[in-house]
Amino acid sequence: MSHRLRVNPIACEAHGMCAELLPERIALDEWGYPVLDGQQLDGELLEHARRAARACPTFALLLERERPPAR
């Protein structure tokens, strides 16, 4: 089972906690909003990703299991 991160751009308020906790995969743009690399996550990074998603003050960072496309 592979996992991927996704940002809800409506909920995100650029707190930047995610980039602090997962700099390997998340950078901040010039306005402080996260830019994700879109890669799959596994092993140790997956644990850091979980922590980053839990730490988001607006629950805007979502760790999702890969599922087949809906159509």
Partner: protein, 437 residues
Amino acid sequence: MSTQLAYAPAPSAVAPPAGLPRLLTGIAAHAAMSLEHHEAVHGPLPLTGGRRPALAFDLVEELDRAGLRGRGGAGFPTAAKLRAVAAAGGRPVVLANVGEGEPASRKDRTLARMLPHLVLDGAELAARALGARELIVAVCETARTGADTLALAISERERRHRGAPRTRLLGVPDRFVASQESALVSLANGAPALPAFTPPRPFERGVGGHPTLVANAETLAHVALIARHGASWFRELGSPAEPGSALVTLSGPVARPGVYEIARGGSLSGLMQAAGGLTLPAAGVLLGGYGGAWIAGAHLESLRLSDERLAPFGASLGAGVVAVLSAHACPVRELARLTRWLAGQSAGQCGPCVHGLDALAGGFEAIAAGAPRGNGEQRMRQLAALVRARGACAHPDGVARMALSALAAFPTELAEHARHGPCERCARSPELPLARA
């Protein structure tokens, strides 16, 4: 129900239009077509007779064979959309989108005002095919006569069409992103008309939590005619990859700007001839919509309005906007003004859109003023990359596409402004329509 009937038009069907126009057949200059007149022109809805009229053929199959794609801008195959809604389970809702947030587009409100029954036919057929619980017609609040005409047309039909789903009008605010499909679903659910974070997409969970088909007005008008005359008739115009006709809104320095019906793949020069020709030389054309792409004037003579031929320019026919800019106007000034307006049309929900579109507009403004910070063009490319795919809806993606295409279409004008500042054309009054008429 499972019997696969070959396509068979109703016995009383009127002969299909040969060539063009199709949708615009019988359109009058100042009055909406009544239901009676509409049926005299196109024939009655292709339903079985009796006490419970029904579709006598598989509409989705027919649309699939026709190769109809959505005409609201995204160009998604209509049959696949219907199938996705049907597969989501439950009793769906059909939402006819006459919102037309594009300020340079008038085709959907022209249909609503002049040919309301064509749109309502398509909506009713889709609703019947899906067994929909409700039909919602979303129409822009400022397109007053469109809303009034639709309301009248709906009441005209109520007496005639037994078994048709309950139909209601939904007034859409006059805002660019308000007629985006998830925004319409929010509005129908009693929330503000703002794009939502998806998935779930409307076809999975939409109005009232039910799977919802959101279909553009022109798309539904084509459905009305494909249901009557069949897929092979639809494919008589256009190319195998891009069949059928399309409505376009031609604006700019032509003798008769307005809504025209063309065969997909038709030439731009043919369209301009039909509109009485250019009244001034053209600097370029913005195609598809304001989130579409610019093509420089030098290419216009040989341009064909097919997605295949437009792809090298990063353009598509999209929502049918053909906005010609005259050589009388300053493209750089127009770009700065257009991008600033588009930035103001952001729903303001997503950070990268709010900040990125403001910065893109600021970038064009700085170039126009002759004061870009550093390399103006490089900065625009960087900003375009920063906003793409980072909003809840595709608004920032459209602005990025438009901005990048402008760099390719007007390199000389942009470079001259970056170096020397405003030109003599900058002082002239702007051409691109932004306020809605």
